[in-house]
Symmetry: C2
Subunit: 590 residues, 2 copies
């Protein structure tokens, strides 16, 4: 059973990502180290003792649809109520509407724990938080006052409605339409798919944010508007009133996250018999500026998905480690006990376990560093704020893609460590392998993240920003070297080699892009993102190990540097030398 | 829907693995190129048109247990009957007992196709073929005459009963016991788990091969005997007679291969009320020599599982490729058509597809080369036979582990190419990701394969055998260079670099092992096996490309060499430099 790794999380927040320094620096006046510790411990307790025990039933029962109503698994509605009572939904919500307004770093750390407990459960609140952010930043004061207090407390939940069958990665192809009703409201018509928590029995009302086109909208992404469409229209007291014309028509049968209802939503089909057809919607932001509203929350949403990767990896590592200590098979070198040796003593199993643990730690370090940049952008002003916003923008695609790829890899290794037991659903290793698989796909596929990194983020400041970032990571390598601790082995050398690869490929891709060799830049994006993450991860683990000097942190950092970071050489090769052969071979693909 | 890649398979058999040369050389007097083509085409037709269409229902319905009887999915019993009628079960069975006695290479090629059609279906016959092999090699003439004709035709099926809860990878821990009945027969008592096709409704009888201990057996693996335990004891006409005391007590709920019943089998619990308790068993081979009987069929069983990896990868590649041609999203460089571009034109999607295709091709080349070695060992005499047997022994762990790892990787990329659709079960990409996951585990985990390769196979002939093998692969690199075809780009150079890495790590691991640095050898085994496979795969694809000179084969080989083979450098690093940091970090694992 999952036990929140509060110490590892605090270490990554404070000693790697810079939380304690930021607190000392006065960036978060409301925070003290004690408060941080208290929040992490209590969130960890809730995730481990309340959420995790219901995960299995959730996977087995799943969310069930009948007559447009979705029933959540046994015990889940009650769990959600306890979650709201505990104030967890309000953790990073705006203070003006009842939230605690805590920094992103803490929100993200808590999110990791909820997702390790149950990714299917954590998804609901994650979507609500995204909707809160969009409403807070772009909606009218009237809408905010009406909806935000209930959404921040968790009394109502929120959803994001983007995807349509023909419009997934490419939102320009959206067809859902909205008509002006003449009274300032709109009527929305269309079908949306893959709507997470689009319907459920957790709350009395559900607040849908829906992208749609006005009749006179320009084509493409410049003609998309954002609408708030509640399941029930609030009455004069602000309570759920008339049923709106939005219904869930089906649930997807999915590989994983079975308890998270993935809905097809039908807007304006006339199912609400007592009204004219059309779902009543309220404009959020300006007409035709809907995509910009989405973009302002995209960084946070992407980081939130990245946390799912970290979370699954952590849960998989814990489960495999516990099993490897328990399970006995064969003889292991150096084992002198009775009978068979615990498999944790077999070097090949150790390689698997350490790979899981090291990749998890590196993913966490990258994700928390991204959250730190967002926090600093909010805490600072002027150039400093801009610098940190650039940093958050740079790290976001990496923090989304790498941890979610790692989630799949680590969950797969986790199944392997369990042997035959791993393939049996009862063990609980397989569900992580199933759940993990969605995270590299949604909220922008990892391929799109990589292209975003190369095409939009690297050019920031003419390349100065990423150069400065690599410079900071070089200081970490230097600090490892300067520590003169023999336990680091060849760590400093290996981190430096990875950073050399990062520097060379960064230059190569920027040159390619500037010179119009778009194909090379696009073809190299995915290996580049992984290279970026491995180099940054190695440097971050070095930073933490130097700060803590704990022998296990040094040893894990060294394992990462000497066993995993070396992949950057092959990735560099792929980026710099791979595009031509890719283009040639692709001719046969049709 | 899966369409058997008969041309690719024939190419890998003939131009890479050496089938056509062997036929010319007279190694298979019964075979002609025409016959090979006819068999491949017809097997491909059956796999694509008969097996594949029932795969989905099999996954959804699964095998169901009621009152110790297992019902297979709708249509499956009939499918199996057609399979037997077509003579497919007898393809590589011994001629003496009604089989066609075709070379392993053809058996393996057909097996790939059945597994691409439905891995859950192909598993049953695979187990039967293993049981046939064990009985043919080790059982008494009486048992052979009674059982083999029916098992070769497929009228009865067979199973392998090795695993017990405490004895998975470590068979020394077996507890199932057998007692001498005094009449030459035995009574078997105990529980076996993970028994594939242990119970089903395909056939009137099921022939279990069971490992058990005699009361006076020595401890460990030298005290294990092999017994034949039929579900129904044959009557005097050889038809199913009295019910034996062996029953299926439960089915595992598994991540994948749902239609393959994975049974817990209870022997001798007295369920057969009309008899004394104890399952009637017949000794196969000598008492206490059961494990040796198993070992003689282990190579083939491992290769058969390797084929599952190739098969899943092929099916996943085909599905993703078809989807990428159909699905349109966004703009792609160079696309001048109307509206959105097919995603197959996006370089990042192309990288995914080509990685799938190239890994599949390399896996297939390795697996077929392994089958070729087995065939040659049978066809030749004396030193030549010994040479080819050494080759088969060397390649078997690689042919089991690499393709099954590739199966998981490629199926995962396949889900990714489908985007959100990939996570929805209906699409059929997810089931491949689920099914694939067992193959790296059973028939000896891939970690155990890697250790087998390093500890038992490399030392063959004092290392001369593997050195000779690497020498052959170097000739392939040289042939690419000597072809002087500019389309090969840097292929020759890259294959040579991979072979340098293979040579260096081979020497390092053999030295370590000989000098007693067992830890370093065990810790490096898994990265070494992958390095071995990437280097061999690159050389094999080079061999085929030189032979065929077809532009698409050259381009795919070049893609593999320039984009994928470069991983060997990092793997070499991991093998040579990774063990110390692994040992240090492992101290914290407990």
């Amino acid at each position: 059973m999952y036990r929140a790794p509060v110490e590892d999380i605090a270490f990554a927040l404070n000693d790697i990502a810079g939380l304690s320094a930021a607190i000392e620096d006065g960036a978060f006046p409301e925070l003290t180290p004690d408060l941080v510790e208290a929040i992490l411990s209590e969130a960890g307790r809730f995730a481990g003792e309340e959420v995790a025990p219901l995960a299995k039933a959730g996977d087995e029962q799943g969310a069930r649809l009948k007559d447009a109503a979705v029933t959540m698994p046994d015990g889940w509605k009650d769990l959600y109520a306890r979650w709201c009572e505990g104030g967890w939904n309000a953790l990073s919500g705006p203070e003006e509407f009842g939230g605690q307004g805590l920094p992103q770093m803490l929100g993200v750390a808590a999110l990791e724990m909820w997702n390790s407990g149950s990714m299917a459960f954590a998804l609901g609140p994650t979507l609500t938080m995204g909707a809160v952010e969009a409403i807070e930043k772009h909606a009218s004061e009237e809408l905010k006052v009406l909806y935000l207090p209930k959404m921040v407390s968790g009394e109502w939940m929120g959803t994001m409605n983007l995807t349509e069958p023909q419009a997934g990665s490419d939102l320009a192809a959206l067809r859902t339409r909205a008509e002006r009703a003449g009274d300032g409201t709109y009527r929305v018509f269309g079908q949306k798919i893959y709507i997470t928590f689009g319907e459920h029995d957790f709350t009395d009302n559900i607040v849908h944010l829906v992208l749609a086109r006005l009749p006179d909208a320009p084509a493409g992404t410049r003609g998309i508007s954002l609408f708030l469409v509640p399941k029930f229209l609030p009455d004069e007291q602000g309570n759920p009133g008339a049923r709106n014309d939005v219904f869930c028509s089906s649930l997807e049968e999915k590989l994983g996250i079975h308890a998270s209802p993935t809905c097809t939503m039908i807007y304006g089909d006339g199912f609400a018999k007592d009204r004219e057809p059309g779902a009543v919607g309220f404009l959020v932001g300006e007409e035709n500026k809907g995509l910009a509203c989405m973009f302002t929350m995209m960084n946070n949403a992407r980081l939130a998905v990245g946390m799912q990767g970290v979370a699954i990896a952590e849960a998989a590592w814990q489960k495999a480690h516990a099993y490897a200590i328990e399970r006995r098979q064969g003889k292991a070198p150096g084992f002198t006990g009775e009978g068979m040796a615990p498999i944790v003593l077999h070097p090949d199993v150790q390689r698997n376990l350490l790979t899981m643990k090291a990749l998890t730690a590196a993913s966490r370090a990258i994700a928390y560093s991204c959250a730190h940049a967002t926090d600093m952008a909010r805490a600072k002003q002027g150039d400093a704020a801009r610098h940190w916003q650039d940093r958050a923008n740079l790290l976001t695609p990496v923090a989304k893609a790498f941890p979610t790829d790692v989630g799949v890899e680590v969950a797969s290794i986790g199944v392997q460590v369990h042997g035959g037991m791993g393939f049996v659903e009862e063990t609980g290793a397989a569900v992580l392998y199933r759940d993990a698989r969605i995270a590299p796909i949604y909220e922008g596929t990892n391929g799109i993240q990589a292209i975003d990194l190369v095409v939009r983020k690297l050019p920031t400041g003419g390349g100065d920003h990423v150069a400065g970032y690599i410079g900071e990571l070089r200081k970490d390598a230097e600090a490892v070297r300067a520590s003169n601790l023999p336990e680091f082995g060849r760590t400093a050398e290996k981190i430096s080699a990875a950073l050399d690869d990062l520097e060379a490929t960064t230059r190569f891709l920027m040159d390619s892009h500037e010179k119009g060799y778009t194909h090379a830049a696009l073809a190299g994006a995915t290996p580049y993102l992984r290279l970026f993450a491995l180099a940054a991860g190695a440097a971050y683990l070095g930073r933490g190990a130097v700060a803590s000097k704990a022998s296990d942190r040094i040893a894990l950092c060294r394992f990462f540097a000497e066993n995993l970071a070396g992949e950057t050489a092959a990735l560099r090769d792929r980026v710099v030398d791979g595009a031509d052969s890719l283009a040639e071979a692709a001719k046969a693909l049709g």
